[in-house]
């Protein structure tokens, strides 16, 4: 009798869990008309909630006093200024960026979010505001000198979940093994401790890492991909997308983007033709 009651309680827990998930899913759907549109909400509350990641210099880092700083953070503050809204940052992991938008925990994501095909099915993007290039990073003592040489079963490529590497690398280096880590910092640690042969990040982050670990790391040139970084936002809110997309266009052509890029990246151009 007790056993049956326990079994019934487990079934009830599973049923409740399934019901909650279905309810969440039904709530999503096309948003217009079901939820308040984000632009109206931000203008009414004067609060803009921005999802970002930390530990990704110089895009976004946490300063010793706990404040966020970086190129993406500065852009978010400019958007907040133009909307007359206080910017409320929500720091998530690389992998947490998409679910944060899917569940509308944040109004937008500014976290070096590259366009990818599968990602574009999950969230919407504005037009591109930067095109960083990505390179492989190996230990200085590594025998691997070219991208082609990494296409070997002896090679393990480490990456952080939430990036586009799992979609790009298998096609580019089919013989190499892939190993995923929860954060960029874990993937870097795996490279430094010899757990993986190489990682792949933007040339800007690689430059920072090489500077932070003098003589220990080396980038493999040329770049293996050029990124298309846009602001991520939830699907289904046309007004919000339109406003943000126009804002990015304005940000690009007025030279504000170049100014911030120079300040945080130390030169070059955010938009590479």
């Amino acid at each position: 009798m007790r056993g049956r009651r326990r079994l019934a309680s487990v079934v009830v827990v599973i049923a409740v869990l399934a019901a909650v998930l279905v309810a969440i899913d039904l709530r999503q759907g096309p948003v217009s008309g079901q939820n308040e549109e984000i632009l109206q909400k931000v203008l009414r509350t004067h609060v803009l909630t921005v999802g970002t990641i930390s530990g990704n210099p110089p895009w976004s880092i946490t300063k010793p006093n706990g404040e966020l700083d970086g190129y993406d953070i500065a852009i978010a503050k400019l958007i907040g200024h133009d909307l007359n809204a206080k910017v409320n940052f929500v720091v998530t992991s690389g992998a947490g960026r998409i679910p944060a938008l899917q569940t509308r925990k944040v109004d937008l994501v500014l976290a070096e979010l590259n366009y990818t095909g599968p990602r574009s099915l999950a969230v919407a993007y504005t037009q591109v505001y930067s095109n960083p290039i990505s390179q492989f990073l190996v230990r200085a003592s590594s025998p691997y000198k070219t991208i082609e040489s990494l296409n070997s079963p002896a090679v393990t490529l480490g990456y952080a979940l939430g990036g586009n590497e799992a979609q790009i690398w298998p096609a580019m280096l089919p013989n190499a093994k892939l190993q995923a880590f929860t954060t960029v910092a874990d993937a870097e640690q795996a490279l430094l401790s010899g757990r993986v042969t190489a990682t792949g990040e933007t040339d800007i982050l690689n430059r920072e890492l090489i500077k932070a670990h003098p003589g220990l790391l080396r980038a493999i040139n040329p770049a293996y991909i050029k990124g298309f970084v846009g602001i991520g936002l939830p699907y289904g809110d046309f007004d919000w997308w339109l406003w943000l997309d126009r804002w990015v266009a304005y940000f690009n052509y007025t030279g504000q983007n170049q100014k911030l890029w120079d300040q945080y990246m130390g030169g070059g151009s955010p938009l590479v033709p």
């Binding site: 998930l21 899917q102 995923a180």
Partner: protein, 224 residues
């Protein structure tokens, strides 16, 4: 636009999910075995009459019970490499969870030993039993009966703790789910499948513990 919940996800990724669940079970079993070894050693050290050994045992238990598992997982996997000691991700996770769980098991054993009572030992001696026979035939069966429910909880806690091994890329259930979530953006679907699998695993274990408890200790129930 993708839906938040895809009921067909489990079927499409069944081989990956089943492999993850199998690794979780294997990792859990190895970690539990390691935690029993460390726990027994911790208790023996703590119960030692030599003050230095007792201090080491006490320090082990207190230090490990007051710090998170994740520190040891990172430390063993990434930290030891810097001094030339390299463990695989799986071994690092087993050791970290084993060392951590051992501290709790040492306390469970100590509690059970105390619960049996000194008079039982005196009575066994009075009947002419040598210390090791007293331990084997009088004290241990009673200790096990006292400790069994708490040990069962510790085993379940260790099994659930295996999810932490995902941070060092042990391909257990949570790690595999993160990989699936990362490539499909169906985090809700995959983690709800995860939750159900963990729930089923823990229920099976709980029932197994109840069965063993009933078979082994049923006749003694209420005699302590």
């Amino acid at each position: 636009m993708t839906s938040l919940f895809d009921p067909g996800l489990f079927w499409r990724y069944r081989s990956v999910i089943v492999a993850g669940a199998a690794t979780t079970l294997l990792l859990g079993a190895c970690s539990v075995a390691a935690s029993f070894v460390f726990g027994l050693a911790g208790w023996l050290l703590k119960a030692s009459k030599l003050r230095a050994l007792a201090w080491v045992g006490g320090a082990y238990v207190e230090a490990l019970r007051n710090t998170p598992d994740l520190l040891y997982i990172y430390g063993l996997y990434f930290g030891l490499v810097t001094i030339g000691v390299t463990f695989s991700a799986f071994t690092s996770a087993v050791l970290a969870l084993g060392i951590q769980g051992g501290a709790y098991i040492a306390e469970i054993i100590r509690g059970a030993f105390t619960a049996v009572g000194h008079e039982q030992r005196v009575a066994a001696r009075a009947l002419g039993l040598r210390p090791w026979k007293s331990l084997a035939y009088v004290e241990l069966p009673q200790m096990l009966r006292v400790a069994f429910p708490a040990l069962g909880n510790q085993v379940i806690s260790t099994l659930l703790g295996t999810a932490l091994a995902s941070v060092i890329a042990v391909p257990e259930l949570t790690y595999q789910s993160q990989i699936i979530g990362d490539s499909t953006y169906q985090y809700f679907s995959v983690f709800s499948v995860d939750a159900v699998i963990y729930l089923v695993l823990v229920q099976v274990l709980t029932r197994l513990f109840h069965l063993i408890d009933h078979l082994w200790f049923g006749p003694w129930r209420g005699t302590v």
